[in-house]
């Protein structure tokens, strides 16, 4: 299928999702759906770097929270509309991605992974000590009741839906474009990729910037969703675990994998944290992650096709 046709189909699917959520006519559907969509974006973003180039990012929480705190800062300083703040959050996180990548992407992949863990704690410490955005006490954000006649939670849901469409379309475009071949070559054998003309450092920086930027955009609406944001929740390790577990469980070789993983795991957690407990639902995610990497190395999409 050509690019424009695929995007049209994605938009149609998005419209169906939104229509279905309206039909359910329960505010909780939008609250829960927002979280699932957020994970679709995060998992897809993670997979652009992790699945396509093979560089494991443990710092999802940092990129995500940077987007959220960009919104907190802009909320205090300006009255920009939320989509503009999302763009700003994406730029901040993308820039941090390039910075981290520039420092560590020349090294073996393992060091990049360890560095992203370290980066998450450094950013969290900076935010915790920055009183303008609330410091360790956290920050309150007043959520408007509605925007353009639309309930604000529905508006947030719609924005995250749009971002999910953008993320998926980006991932699929990469897969089919020249750059996707370059990414795959890096993942398979970086030295051979460089020797065959692939500008490996530049491509890795592009992947880090895209991946980090999308994560930042996914985090930007968070303050309006939770209305109270503190570093402990913004930087929660569960973001990192989920965004790694979802692509690996769904399958990393194509854009479909992270989407399947995010929808399955995201829904499972929404249900489990209501019916059982949120700690137990996180334990399930951890067990599924370990179980899948041991027993199903190609994820759910590996069960289908060749």
């Amino acid at each position: 299928m050509r690019g424009p046709g695929f995007v049209a189909l994605l938009l149609l699917a998005a419209a169906l999702v939104f229509g279905a959520a309206r039909l359910v006519d329960n505010p909780y559907a939008f609250f829960a759906g927002y979280v699932v969509l957020q994970y679709v974006v995060l998992a897809t973003a993670w997979n652009i770097l992790g699945g396509y180039t093979g560089y494991v990012n443990f710092g999802t929480a940092a990129f995500f929270a940077l987007g959220a705190y960009t919104t907190v800062a802009l909320h205090k300083l300006t009255s920009l509309p939320l989509p503009a703040m999302m763009l700003a959050g994406g730029i901040v996180s993308g820039a941090v991605g390039i910075g981290t990548g520039y420092l560590t992407l020349r090294l073996r992949g393992t060091y990049f992974s360890i560095a992203t863990l370290a980066m998450a704690v450094v950013v969290q410490t900076l935010i915790t000590n920055w009183s303008f955005v609330g410091g360790s006490r956290g920050a309150y954000v007043v959520r408007p009741a509605e925007v353009m006649g639309l309930d604000y939670v529905q508006y947030l849901f719609l924005l995250m839906l749009a971002l999910a469409v953008i993320a998926i379309a980006t991932a699929r475009t990469i897969e089919r474009a020249r750059i996707g071949t370059g990414f795959a070559a890096i993942r398979d054998d970086e030295v051979a990729a460089e020797a065959n003309g692939v500008p490996t450092l530049r491509l890795k920086l592009i992947a880090t910037a895209l991946s980090g930027g999308l994560m930042g955009m996914a985090g930007a609406p968070l303050p309006y969703y939770v209305t109270y944001l503190d570093p402990a929740s913004g930087f929660s390790l569960s973001y990192a675990v989920n965004t790694i577990a979802m692509p690996l469980i769904g399958g990393t070789s194509s854009w479909v994998g992270p989407v399947i993983g995010a929808v399955l795991l995201g829904t499972l957690q929404q249900v489990a944290s209501v019916t059982i407990s949120s700690a137990l639902s996180l334990l399930i995610v951890g067990l599924l992650l370990v179980g899948f990497v041991i027993a199903a190395p190609r994820g759910i999409i590996g069960w289908f096709g060749k």
Binding site: R178, T181, G182, A184, A185, R187, D188, D189, V191, A192, A193, E194, A195, N196, G197, V198, P199, T200, L201, S253
Partner: protein, 242 residues
Amino acid sequence: MTSLLQVQGLGKRFGGFVALSDISFDVADGERLGLIGPNGSGKSTLVNCLCGTLRNESGEVRFAGHSLAGLNAHQRIRRGLARSFQLPRPFGTMTLAENLRVPILYAVQPRTGARVPDIDRRCTDLLGMVGLADKADRKPADLTQIEMRKLELARAMASEPRLLIADEAMAGLSHQEVDEILALLLRLNAEGVTIIMIEHIMRAVLAFSQRLVVLVAGRKIADGAPQDVVREPAVVEAYLGS
């Protein structure tokens, strides 16, 4: 004949270990050069320095009249300097055809702006040239040792190089398989590609090379016509022991 590659005073050390010191030689356009030396003499390090995988600390490499100083490996292959790896390093998750697409997309297309249907045909042609056309949609893991070598050579050729460095493309192959690869390289050379062959199999090197360069312990100890070089006492000593 004009020089395609000029190496002048090249040196490389790892920590305190001197891997290459003061290596100088020229390769003429269209020439077939054999590069030999015992294990650990610095041949692979030299290849890595020429191709930009490693940085040399001293000396200069010029290719087609331009200095290669500061250029990465991917910039060098785009200028026409390609290499095959001693141990084949295929892209494991890609089919054979996709393996060849990488250098075409990244080394050839930026130069020529080739269109996609042409790229597909070029992949098929190249695989046909090395006798792997019927395996275009297979993964490298399905290949035999010699097929892997052929894929490695086909991928290096896919970048349409002016100079190809074949790093021990025949190690571990049977007599007949060596002849197959030799014929392939000779055909390439006849089409105008300059070739540096690094090889342990003396029969192949002597059959192929118009000139030999000998490295021992990171130094060049001989450079000349093959039949003369193999008689030089220093070379004999290095190979047979004193």
